[in-house]
Subunit: 326 residues, 2 copies
């Protein structure tokens, strides 16, 4: 079993790598080789199998062909320019998120000779744009209101068409906002959903740029890895031709996020949030979906947390060794 | 008022050109110049304004920039590889229908300097794929089951994003199957819907490759031109950010098409249809939508025929000078 991860240096990519190293196998087959790719150098972990770390811009013609030349059995495509940056830099967003994805898909197609890997693509709830129904189900249409969401929606369409054509066996998973993201903020406009939990638990102040009644859908980094592993191993016959699935999530308001933080870490921690409305972020967030009916993914065995309290506790357990800065 | 038509040599492009020449104006402004572009040489009509006919492959880098250099006020983008050919030739379909469209949109974007033309894009009901609800409304999601439908859906997403960004003022219209197409069959898998009417009226035999209970949605060539003209002149403030609209149509079974032909032209004409099932076409057609709720477009003033009888009569009037081969 050979595995290729694009976007391996990102937060989810690193956690997926750790999980695969720990498991040593995927779908009952021992992992023999793993290629970790990113535009920033991925850290190759100690592993009971060969690990190759590669650094390049996969949106340069020919790069993707090089990555799939060894015919990996499973490909995780996590590489993306995040929402805020894709909005600020139109050409870069389209080059990486659209051209890069297409070059990868075409590289797999061109291998030919019966090669048909499992390909897991991380899409996003940003493929949906307001106005929304009460809960967005799997038959709700794609109306992205950002360039990032547009690029992800295009990736979904290409994934479905190339899967239908038999070039690979694709599964697209629409990740909700991953919360609590560990480490430093990235350029995603959704970053504050994590920082208002992460920074206070670290004894630092966090800025909240939107009103507390903003509702949003979340899943933990641990769930994100679980989604990816399940997408890589599920019997795709059970999915059918509609290969892009909205992942389960916990829908809460910002006020409910803060309540959970207060319940678990106390008033002092929860008081480290400073309200500083940001019209740009408020406008983007207003176009994001607040709640999903992910019954299709749930019936296919994808699982997220049950409550935001659980999400906060997982962060303290996985990232802080159980310790809170009181 | 300068106008650019891409795909001007096609059936709808020629009829749109005729209409613009007859009208001499668009939205109350006199037409001063029209550029007709296609990969096959468009015929430049006699007109009371300057007409330039250009032939090139607009999916070649730089071509689209040349086409928009004169800053046309209205752009009609009708150029496409049709469904059957896009399915048979994956690379050609993606090159013209995806890359070509994107080159055009980017060329308009790069003009800059306040340039923001009206851009009318012909999408297709092929953006929808089975299984369907009873009638497909404007909030039904995009699930194309052909590469052509995938490419059109991607064009819709790009149109909406580039409109949102202010690069042009886009309107995407999802054309139903245009029936009765005059002239020779094109490579579209949907061609038989027209030929079973057109050929018998011309005294020739037509082949029906699907069962008579197949239901499909149609509008006449005259309606198609009407949709384009309305899309080019409508106040887009009334459309809002969801710029892609399903056009009105007449939903009938093949049996009802044949009944209409028999009512209007008699038994002898209707008997010129030979049943010859084609599994490839049956499979493609099974993935196409049978009926639409186009209330959004209707409320915005788009109009189609009321019955299939009307569609047959329009064909006899517009294409046959009122004469039927009895």
């Amino acid at each position: 079993m050979r595995i290729l991860i694009l976007g391996a240096a990102g937060m989810v990519g690193r956690k997926l790598t750790e999980r695969l190293v720990t498991d040593g196998q995927l779908n009952g087959r021992a992992i023999t080789h793993m290629i970790l790719h990113d535009v920033a150098e991925p850290i190759a972990p100690q592993a009971p199998f060969e690990v190759t770390a590669l650094t390049s811009d996969f949106s340069r013609p020919g790069e993707a062909d090089r990555l799939v030349a060894s015919r990996p059995d499973a490909i995780f495509h996590l590489a993306a320019i995040v929402s805020g940056e894709a909005e600020a830099d139109l050409e870069k967003g389209y080059r990486i998120n659209l051209d890069g994805t297409r070059f990868l898909f075409d590289a797999v197609r061109r291998v030919g000779d019966g090669y048909r890997p499992r390909l897991v693509f991380t899409s996003s709830i940003a493929v949906f744009g307001a106005p929304f129904p009460e809960a967005i189900d799997d038959a709700f249409f794609l109306t992205p209101l950002t360039s990032y969401g547009t690029q992800k929606a295009i990736g979904e369409l290409l994934l479905a068409d190339y899967t239908r054509r038999g070039f690979f066996d694709g599964v697209g998973i629409r990740l909700p906002t991953i919360c609590v993201r560990p480490g430093k903020p990235n350029k995603a406009a959704s970053g504050f959903f994590s920082s208002i939990i992460r920074e206070p638990l670290n004894g630092q102040e966090a800025v909240l740029p939107v009103p507390e009644d903003v509702r949003h859908a979340h899943a933990s980094p641990r769930s994100a890895v679980g989604f990816l592993m399940h997408a890589a191993t599920i019997d795709t016959e059970t999915i059918g031709p509609r290969r892009n699935l909205t992942m389960p999530s916990v829908s809460v308001t910002v006020a409910e996020q803060i309540d959970a933080l207060r319940r678990i870490a106390g008033d002092k921690v929860a008081s480290r949030i400073r309200r500083e409305p940001d019209p740009d972020i408020m406008r983007m967030v207003a176009g994001w979906p607040p709640r999903f009916d992910a019954s299709r993914a749930e019936s296919l065995g994808f699982k997220a947390e049950e409550s935001f309290d659980e999400i906060v506790r997982l962060h303290i357990e996985d990232e802080l060794g159980g310790r809170i800065a009181g």
